[in-house]
Assembly symmetry: C2
Homo-oligomer: 194 residues x 2
Amino acid sequence: MPRSGAEARRRLQQAALELYRERGFDRTTTAEIAARAGVNERTFFRHFPDKREVLFDGESHLRASLTQAVAEAPDGLQPLDLLLFAFRKVEHILEDNRPFAEPRLRVIAATPALRERDLAKTAAITETVAEALRQRGVADRQAGLAAHVGWAAFHHAAQAWIDDPAQSLDAHLLRAFDDLRALCLTTPAGDRSR
Amino acid sequence: MPRSGAEARRRLQQAALELYRERGFDRTTTAEIAARAGVNERTFFRHFPDKREVLFDGESHLRASLTQAVAEAPDGLQPLDLLLFAFRKVEHILEDNRPFAEPRLRVIAATPALRERDLAKTAAITETVAEALRQRGVADRQAGLAAHVGWAAFHHAAQAWIDDPAQSLDAHLLRAFDDLRALCLTTPAGDRSR
């Protein structure tokens, strides 16, 4: 039996990830996850409300860290630069945890029930980031759009980093923001008639 | 009893939307939706697999129309302009259906189970749009990012249009893309040290 609550929690996450990979999310029960982690099922439910949440433990930490990073960013940055600063501050959370992060992202991508939960978490983070931008004086309309667009670039970078671990997440992140700027820059004002 | 299948379908959608607004999604049963629509429950399940899908009927039509619009866009457009062209081609789908679209968006925003489904549909549309961009010769890496970013602007415009119906969806869409360009333009290359 694991000694501490934190240790049990970590073992439950690892056991769930292994089982989801081996036999799929739908065919795994909470009892099986608990058994592999060496705890009983009641302990599972003391830590997680359901089979999905066990893979989303880091989300609240990421969200809090991002909010703090936006709040602490230097003055005078434009919204996207402010977000790039914040993403670079928190990228170590993913990098420190790559052995878990990589299979986790693959299992989520392959499992509709987990994808839905992941998308809901993402939407919640995006709203939090938008609110943090507003606190920094970014106009209401611009804050929501900037949060969505910035998150799209961050997500893009994380996916590229999973596919190509030869480069750091930071390098992928800088490239994603460069791609984003290029995408907008190459768009001429042009003729808008239909 | 409604005469045709299409009429029954439309009545089921209207009945579901009304009931979700009146008593909430969770407290509404498929039997109640069928009763209000004047059909039996078997008819409900002939049209929709579950209580959530009844509000997402237009998604496949929107997705097909967007794909076609991207395919038919003039040559020589940059990715974001190509997307703006495509969104303008399909915006009438939302505008023609505002009496349904508006309460639908409000119910979705207020119901976690519907939000998750909505986010999953959005992710599927974004992937389809990215694929359509690749078919038009947009580079793989750029296509995914452009689809996400373009969709963020479209979603932003649709939300603004719901909140402010005094302006057309088209006007909101043009403004969202202007905001998007401004967001990137005001971002200087700057110092990237941490």
